[in-house]
Amino acid sequence: MSEPPISRGFRGRGRSGQSARVPPGQHLVTDFPVLSAGPTPEADLATWRFTLEDGESPIAEWSWDQFEALPQTDLTVDIHCVTTWSKLDTRWRGVSIDTLLVAAGLSEPPGPFVLVHSEGGYTTNLPSEDLVDGKAMVATHFDGEPLHPEHGGPARLLVPHLYFWKSAKWVRKIQFLDSEQPGFWEELGYHIYGDPWREQRYAGD
């Protein structure tokens, strides 16, 4: 198979060597691109619920008011999308997963893996240990404002150390499981873990 022709003068986006904070293959953006696997759900805070489940058994559930009354955490982090954009110093506010576990009366995750469920049917999976010790939160505010629906409002998961498809928008439930269960994109060839620093975009990377 012959080599593709080089398109003279095409450079594409600036990629490597930008900064130690930019993982391999990523480029920096200053806006906040929107990418969704489905339509933006209409938020109804009166009926919104967030649930923790152990297998099929509910452990805890919060209404919006109850959720907002939990201790809040502020986080400033860099985020990295598998589609190659990265955004530095993003400011978030929400409830850390550590706080949720404490509020649910748990000293540790009840299972080694989680499947995260969003309104509209989107799912993603990760090891439980990637949610705790300050690594993740359910975010309700971005850049000082309530999280916009296009970006996952009223609440999304935020797991900044993994590719951003793991930070499920419109999150409703975290389900703890004994075995790993691939989510929406993981079922279709995306990496089961997704570490941007090891460039784990696709299964087999």
């Binding site: 691109p33 990418l35 969704s36 489905g38 339509p39 589609t83 498809w165 060839g189 995306y190 299964a203």
Partner: protein, 94 residues
């Protein structure tokens, strides 16, 4: 609001035409899909597609069921059509 090239408003099955032609011997954009969620029928070209650069997620215009999901990874192409009950492709003109 000025949109950037990487802002991904939902397109439609027409945009997935090239990927589908990598997999199938015929053009499928005119193929009619029956949604397994609600029974609605629509040509693939008319169906809204989400997912942007991650892949094509075609969702029924009536009930939002994902009737077709398609990704192109270095290992190969993935196609999930469990949201499609039936697909009909008209015979090519003689």
């Amino acid at each position: 609001m000025s949109l950037q090239e990487h802002d991904m408003l939902p397109l439609d099955g027409n945009a997935a035409g090239g990927l589908l032609r990598e997999l199938f011997a015929l053009d499928l954009t005119a193929a009619e899909i029956t949604c397994d969620g609600c029974g609605a029928v629509a040509p693939i070209g008319a169906i809204r597609a989400y997912g942007g650069a991650m892949g094509a997620v075609l969702r029924c215009g009536h009930c939002d069921t994902a009737v077709l999901r398609l990704t192109h990874t270095p290992a190969g192409l993935w196609l999930d059509m469990h949201g499609t009950r039936r697909l009909f492709v008209a015979a090519p003109e003689a």
